[in-house]
Structure formats: C-alpha cells, structure tokens
C-alpha cells in the first residue's frame, strides 16, 4: 500500500516545473503505460497542493478548490495515456485539464439567469416548425402578412407608424409634420401597435 508515501517527496520540493518537467513527464508516461502508483504519487504530491493554492486564490472557496483538485487529479490518473511529452510540459497539460474543469464548474454553478429562448432572440423571423418536413410556408410570409395588416390600420394611425418606423422620425418630428400635439402622436402610436398586435393574433 501507499500509505507510507510522504506528501512532499524530497526532490520535488523547491524545483520549478521547468526543471522537473522531464522527471514529471516520465512519471506521467509510467502512469499511462502501467498505472504505476508510485509515479502517480510523485505527480500528485507535486501538483495537487500547488493547484489547490491557485484554485483557492481564483475561486475563494476551499470546498470548490478541493473539488477542482480532485477532478483534475482524477483526470490525470485516468487520462495519463493521452499525455504526449512532445507536445508540451506536464505543467501545461495539467493546467489545461484544470482550466477545462474550472469552466465546467463555472457552468454548473451559474444560476440560470432568466431562461432566454431563441424565439425572443430571433423575433418574428422564426416560423415555428416542429419538424423540417413540415416547413411549407412561403419564406416571405411574415413580412408580407405584416404589410397587409398594416394597410388595414386607420389612416391617421398608419401615417404616424410609417413616419416613425419606416422613415425613422422622432415622435416630436411627427408631431411637427402633422401639426398635432406630441401626446396625440404617442397615443396614436400606442393604439396602432395595440391594433397590430390584435390583428396579428387573429391572423394566427
């Protein structure tokens, strides 16, 4: 059993990973080839405490830091055969594993804000279909429909909507153009939008 293996082995104490990279590389290769526990202990004892210190700084929470260490070192144990010394140092490989696990932890932690659904993000362009095969709608139909419905608005409301939404004028400019009070422009806009909304609903 490995109970007797000291946590910090003598020679991995003060070296920077550049200096011990070759040594750690060969341990990793041994773990990958033969599940060598002694080699893994060398790797573990060097990397785990340093990873914890870093994670604690980053995450500010002992439990999360230890979770990161545990998951990262488990991955090192399980995936050591994927380590390729020619592609980089053990410190790069292990840091990258830890980095990816940290991203996954952040994903899980994050409280889902409000659920954003695609339909809100891609408003109106979307003709909802459950299945590709059901698609038969003319691709222009929504905009065309809107155009037709728009024509049904009372003239005074349509003028205001046209000026604001199509010509891009401000409500004040529209008030000046039609020589009506600003409040009237606002109420016509509101009424028109309400009306469009109802007509669109009926159209469904």
């Amino acid at each position: 059993m490995l109970v007797g293996i000291p946590l910090e082995s003598k020679h991995s104490h003060a070296v920077v990973p550049k200096d011990c990279a070759d040594e750690m590389s060969s341990y990793l290769v041994l773990v990958g080839q033969s599940r060598c526990k002694r080699s893994f202990a060398e790797i573990f004892n060097y990397f785990a405490p340093r990873l914890r210190s870093y994670a604690l700084k980053q995450m500010g929470n002992e439990a999360l830091a230890m979770e990161l260490v545990q998951d990262t070192m488990s991955n090192v144990w399980q995936k050591s055969h994927l380590f390729n010394a020619e592609k980089g140092a053990p410190s790069t490989w292990i840091f990258t594993i830890a980095r990816n696990i940290r991203f996954d932890m952040l994903r899980k932690q994050r409280n889902r804000k409000e659920d954003i659904c695609a339909d809100d993000l891609w408003p109106v362009l979307c003709e909802q279909t459950a299945d590709v095969n059901e698609v038969s709608l003319d691709e222009q139909i929504t905009l065309q429909q809107l155009g037709i419905i728009f024509e049904d608005l009372p003239k005074k409301q349509r003028e205001v909507i046209e000026a604001i939404y199509i010509e891009g004028k401000s409500q004040q400019e529209v008030a000046d153009q039609f020589e009506i009070p600003l409040g009237t422009v606002k109420s016509r806009t509101r009424l028109a939008l309400q009306r469009l909304k109802e007509m669109l609903k009926d159209n469904d």
Partner: protein
Amino acid sequence: MINFHPELAHLRAFAEGTCPTNLALMISAHVDLCPRCQAITMQAQEEAGLEVFSGKLNAADPQPDFNDMMLQIMQTPDVEAPVLQPVNNMLELDGKHFALPRALARYTHKTGNWSRLVGKLWQAPVDLGQDGQANFIYMEKGGKVPEHTHKGTEFTLVIDGQFSDGLADYDCGDFTIMDSTKKHMPFSEADEGCLVFTMVDKPLHFTSGLARLLNPFSQLFFK
C-alpha cells in the same frame, strides 16, 4: 482565410480560464479552426502552467491532508483504455452535411430541429445548459437577415461558407463580436451559402424598413 480573430486579451483570458464560459466556448471553437490562435493559446497555457506550478509552496498557507484523496483516485477502477469515442461532429440540413469544430461537436445531440426563417434563413437552436442558448444559422445563397443592431452582445463564428454584412466579408473560421454600436445586415452570396454558430444575450433590434415594426412584437409571435 481567417481574418477576424478574438482579441488578444480574450484569447489570454480563455487560455487562463478567466473569461465567461459562453465566450470560452466560442473561442475554443475558433481555436479549433485557427492555427494562429491555437499557437497563441498554447503559449499562454504554458505560461500559466509554469506560473501556477512553479516554486515552493507557501508555508503560510497550510495544506490539508491530501493522502485520502490520492488513494481514492488511485482506487477508481481503470476505465478501459478508452477508444476515442467516435463523436458525431456532422450537422445535417436538407441533405447538406457540415463538419463542426471539436468544441461544438459535443453539442450536436443538443441541437434542435431546423426551423425555416424568413429570407432564406434556417435556424437550429442549441441548448448549452447553464450557458443558455446558441443557434446555428444557415443562410442560403441570397439569404439575408434584416438590418439590425444589438441590445446586448452577439458572438458569431463562421463554420462553413462565407457571408458579408455591409461592414466586412467573413470567411470560414472568422469570429466577430457585435454590440449596440454596430448595425449590420448579414447576407450570403456564396454558392454553398453560409453556416454560422451564434450567441446573443439580448434580442436583436431590427433597424430598417418594415422589419422595424417587428420589434414591439418579439414576444407575441411565440408562445
């Protein structure tokens, strides 16, 4: 030819694990397609690894007893020398097949059905779990998204084909971030059309023509 890369600060933040996770996914997918950014992130990861694992442990920061953890890890049963799982990294639309970058391949089974949008556009939602939602958008040749700006931020990565938006021309692998300061009208004239992977955190805001009328109704069309 890739001309639009993530900015250097974002690449570094991704490499170091300090950027938001949704941006991380976009950059990771870009890096899969872009040797230049792959080299930059590898370099940054190497530096970060050296920094994290260098030097003596701080004596003022007493370490817990790791022995149990270590023994427990070594007792986990061996996973069979993992045959690399054949990941389905192909996305299919209407008989067309698109190869996805590695970072996105894990989401093929989280990708919903294609919906047809107006203007020769197709959309398939991708459930990113806690990261919310992303979309694959496919523009057929001649397809266009009405001119819009953004209330929030829009990330776009070109997966296949080319498109333009009145600001620039984009090719496979190009990555852009659009926000409320940018107004654009994406369209594709490429024969094979264009597939992009995109994330927006707030609804698009249409800025031209009748499409502007759609803005107040964004909620209404979909229940």
